[in-house]
């Protein structure tokens, strides 16, 4: 499938150099795509160059792995092949911010943080948390990363209103548009979100924005076990205080539920009182976010075998006590997540033996599965990824393969990184 011999690569280099701004080798320090070293790195300067690179790769049968800012490149399964690493960091322009219409269009290589600075100039924000510092918009979309604020407004799929992708054959296609309400045609954006670079290259995206709230307040309460955690979360989600986030964290020090209230100062003050009353006499409130903020509970700086095993568990809300119960007895476990929507992230220490991780994941899959959810190994040392299918069982896999077959008939886009070996 992949053409990685030296002569092939020399030819490819020449062809790519004639159409693309920057073509070179992978930086020495980089471990490539989760240990898979690409033959070449191509850094197009604009969408036309992305298209030209894709045409060259198509003609030569080269596999392509897109990279935004490289902050989540180890997520998922390592690719079966990565002839060309498509570096999109030069697609770094915010294209348009229409404050009056609450929309923003950006190229995919722009850092999420930079999008936020532009939106902030109009008193607005893209209500998506930066869960990994420095990540790009394209990477956030491709991995469907989400943080605490999903409670009220949802995730990338809910805020994305338009998208442009470059197909495997270099054809540039867009879907959606620049208005919040639009039902003309298929919503390709939904398919691309969370597709891990296996369907096409996301080159730009348009989002709906929200006003930056004038006031924010975090109300927190400690819990001593799954039952109390569940009570707190249920109290928050069934309340009428409109929580912007309902987070849960647990480590050696114990567990806490944190609820975020956002809005007008007078409104937030009133709701803080109401929520404290609901969460019990020990509840506290603070302006500052909890120490962990939107970050995942695993060590982001660790690489290679030093990585923790990073899990994402999902479940119907009523499953929280069972999931906490199943996680609770694990050694050295750290937990954080959006309990109010049924998502918890867990980190197992990197020393945990792969077979033990596999057994744990298997057991958790049983528990989460009973509650309508799943367990994904977001990231882990290579030995762990070998020992356990990071994605787990996926219904409708046959239909997914057919979608892949249409969008990437030669299986050259991030091959093997996704569910079922897609």
């Amino acid at each position: 499938m992949a053409a990685s011999t030296t002569t092939d690569l020399d030819g490819a280099r020449e062809a790519l150099t004639s159409v693309c701004g920057r073509v070179g080798e992978l930086e020495e320090a980089s471990d490539g795509v989760d240990g898979v070293r690409p033959g070449l790195v191509a850094g197009p300067n604009d969408v036309d160059q992305v298209a030209a690179v894709m045409r060259v790769c198509s003609e030569r049968g080269l596999s392509v792995v897109p990279r935004g800012r490289g902050t989540k490149l180890t997520w998922g399964t390592p690719p079966a092949s990565a002839d060309v690493l498509l570096d999109l960091s030069a697609l770094d322009r915010v294209l348009d911010h229409q404050a009056g219409d609450l929309i923003l269009a950006t190229q995919a290589g722009v850092r999420l943080a930079d999008v936020q600075s532009v939106a902030a100039e109009g008193g607005q924000r893209l209500t998506l948390d930066e869960t990994v510092p420095g990540g790009s918009v394209g990477g956030m979309l491709a991995t469907n990363a989400s943080g605490p604020r999903r409670q009220a407004v949802g995730t990338a799929r809910d805020l994305l209103i338009g998208i442009t992708v470059v197909r495997h054959d270099g054809v540039v296609a867009k879907a959606g548009g620049r208005v919040v309400k639009n039902v003309a045609g298929y919503d390709l954006g939904k398919l691309l979100v969370g597709s891990f670079g296996t369907l096409g290259v996301i080159v730009d995206a348009t989002f709906r924005l929200h006003p930056v709230p004038a006031a924010t307040r975090w109300v927190s309460a400690a819990f001593d076990g799954p039952a109390r955690a569940h009570e707190l979360v249920q109290a928050a989600v069934h309340s009428q205080v409109v929580p912007a986030a309902v987070e849960l964290e647990q480590d050696e020090q114990g567990g806490r539920v944190h609820v975020l209230l956002e809005g007008r100062p007078d409104g937030v003050a009133g709701r803080t009182e109401a929520l404290r009353a609901l969460l019990g006499p020990d509840a506290t409130d603070a302006e500052e976010p909890p120490a962990g903020g939107a970050a995942y509970p695993w060590d982001l700086a660790a690489t290679g075998d030093e990585r923790d095993t990073a899990l994402k568990t999902t479940f119907a809300l009523s499953g929280l006590p069972d999931v906490l119960g199943a996680l609770g007895d694990l050694d050295g476990l750290r937990l954080r997540g959006s309990a109010g929507v049924g998502v918890l992230y867990a980190a197992l220490p990197h020393r945990t033996a792969p077979a033990d991780v596999a057994a744990t994941v298997e057991r958790l899959r049983g528990v989460c599965g009973r509650h309508g959810g799943s367990v994904v190994v977001v990231d882990a040392p290579a030995a762990v990824k070998d020992a356990v299918d990071p994605w787990g069982p996926v219904p409708a896999l046959a239909l997914m393969r057919r979608v892949k077959e249409q969008f990437d008939p030669d299986h050259r886009l991030s091959p093997g990184r996704f569910v079922g070996g897609i």
Partner: protein, 501 residues
Amino acid sequence: MSSSPATTAPAPESVDQRIAAVADVARRLLPEEGVITDRARLRTYECDGLAHYRVTPALVVVPETAEQLAEVVRACADHAVPYVARGSGTGLSGGALPHAEGVLVVTSRMREIREVRREDQRAVVEPGVINLDVTRAATPHGYYYAPDPSSQQICSIGGNVAENSGGAHCLKYGFTANHVLGADFVAPDGEHVPLGGMAPDAPGYDLLGAVIGSEGTLGIVTTVTVRLTRLPEEVRTLLVGFASTDQAGAATSAIIAAGIVPAAIEMMDALAIEAAEAAVRCNYPDGAGAVLVIELDGSVHDVEAEFSDVERLCREHGSFEQRLATDPADRALIWKGRKSAFAAVGRISPDYIVQDGVIPRTALPEVLSRIAALSEESGVRVANVFHAGDGNLHPLVLFDDAVEGAGDAAEKVSGAILDLCIEHGGSITGEHGVGMDKAKYMPRMYSDDDLDTMQLVRCAFDPHHLSNPGKLFPTPRLCGEVPGRKKAPHPLQAAGLAEVF
């Protein structure tokens, strides 16, 4: 994957034979009244809410369970018979228009609300369940189903999923796509699979996201899992009269610019008000050139503060009358005028076209004056009703079919309004869908490459074009033609490469 039914079927059957074969399967599965072949009864299904397109289906099947529905679809696949799903038939783009040589699969006997799970904030419902019934079932638990199309008393959840329906409150709460988390799905080969589920972020492609809004062209949803939304502590509805739509539009912009996201901001112009008065005597402000219906909801504290800002901003932009409703009966009265607007136009015009287009909200004054100019030049009256908060226009283009050429003139104005939407970077449909009606406009909004790429999805789900064929896209893609390196090179690709080397 699934091989072509056309090639696996033994000998080429005639249309009648193929329909008969599907009818046989259906009769085996269903009680007599669930299989309709009588011409007169078939005709009762000949159109949806867009009554000027009419086609009599060859067969109507009314399954009672998802399994029966899947079997019928499988029979259609086996005999290469096209089929069209139909919920309540209220669609306004001809989406549920039957196929003359196909089967209409009606979900009106699949109306059970299976579960209301307060603890999980979910309900599980069958596809024929009426939108408002979900809210009715959830309200005793302190919850409701947020997407509220004006047709909510009659339209089905399956239809809502297919159209990605919105409503007055989607400005704040989003559309069907934001509230449907899972669905059992019958693919065009009859495979019955779950998409999404109770929990968020199911691993794999978001196929459910692609199915929502696909207008029945990818397959049929059976059981649907929806998110329930907590009822707000406080709701205030404000009816505001302005001298002109310009003033009302400016007030809308000012409210949004102040960082307020109301649950709804709806606008009606003088002609729409006149019609509503005639129909339901909603008693809107006398002599208003435009009214806004503004709803604020949330916690008491916030709503109170927002309300005083909204009141002030409307005053500053020239409102001459404001009426506040806090109790449900008064609120319903205000909404009555707005929600009956489409039908009400029948009081002032024998015929009318309901248009549905979207513009960036800031373009509202400009687009409204262009619509007024179009109306003036052509002599065709246009009443405007819209979701002002998100720029979704519903111009009602009035005509009298008894007058020769009037229908054509109205059609022309209606099309010109869509052109205006596209010119301003908007969309040809915000909620009614493309269906039969607007397929021809798709190329004005999307390039050939865009449409070709969308149809890759169709080819993945329905390579033989059996599920609601002829809708949505102006020209179907031949799914066999997968442009791939190992197959014939795409001409564009060849051109590109020629340049490279």
